[in-house]
Amino acid sequence: MKIGVITYPGTLDDRDAQRAIRLAGGTPVPLWHADSDIKKVDAVVLPGGFSYGDYLRCGAIAAQAPATQEVVRLAAQGLPVLGICNGFQILVESRLLPGGLIRNEHQHFICRDQRIRVENTSTAWTNLFEQDEEITIPLKNAEGGYIASAETLKMLEAENRVVFRYLDVNPNGSMNDIAGLTNERGNVVGLMPHPEHATEAGFGPDTDIATRSGVDGLKFFQSVLKALVNA
């Protein structure tokens, strides 16, 4: 299975996303923001980073890129898309997901090992999790506060579209402790924490067993492979 990873100017976690796809058993395909040809990939990851410096609004400039436009078009046809951190911001700016992401409540960039709960396991990227499974993956952002109007929030909750919720601490002031969302169809998922940084033992978050041995993020990428096989 070929999974594309888009690199924008200022993208940082693209190689990490590619490594995670490889570790899950998929074939990563590097994609370039300026190219609307996304090489017939079976799914796309919009990785983390600071596309265009995150100036103006995070993800706003990247949302205009030819590759993003193509992803928006194909997402409507069911292409699985995962937006991580800056990728989530790009999805929001592209209107593939509702609401907005603003400056963290405490005003600082924050990097921490974050516990979250998986509340929707029917998406393309979460089907291997147990309902309400609690996992730990790194979080690192300065603009991760999720906001939306009261109606939007109500709709998201009613339609079970909140996929991930923060546990223990709400690290950025997100409404309803929202860490990640999906679209109506369940093929597009965006979240602030970074599953790709918890896919290789030795380089992930700490666990009770050993330093940096957490690999809870691996299931995101295995899930999409499974969804693609079943599709």
Binding site: L56, R57, A60, Q64, V92, E93, P98, G99, G100, I102, R103, N104, E105, H106, Q107, G145, I147, A148, S149, G173, M175
Partner: protein, 82 residues
């Protein structure tokens, strides 16, 4: 230099963490009469020729579609300065 000035504010009923932080700091330093602070953007678009009505129209479109995000922000003013 001729310029068009676009002013954008966070939506009234949505959170504005930087504004809140500044409001708290002002309160701590005794400015009790300021009940609230909101922080938005002032974007200057510079031209090297006089600005036309067409420029203003086009700036309005850019302001609504790209410079601001209407889910979380409002364009509160578009003015020109010669």
């Amino acid at each position: 230099m001729p310029k068009i000035i676009v002013e954008i504010m966070p939506k009234q009923d949505l959170l504005d963490p930087p504004g809140k932080a500044v409001a708290n700091a002002l309160k701590r330093s005794g400015h009790n009469d300021i009940v609230n602070v909101r922080i938005g953007k002032r974007i200057e678009l510079h031209f090297d020729r006089p600005i036309t009505q067409a420029d203003l129209d086009s700036a309005g479109r850019v302001a609504a579609s790209f410079l601001s995000n209407d889910v979380i922000e409002d364009v509160v003013a578009i003015t020109k300065e010669d």
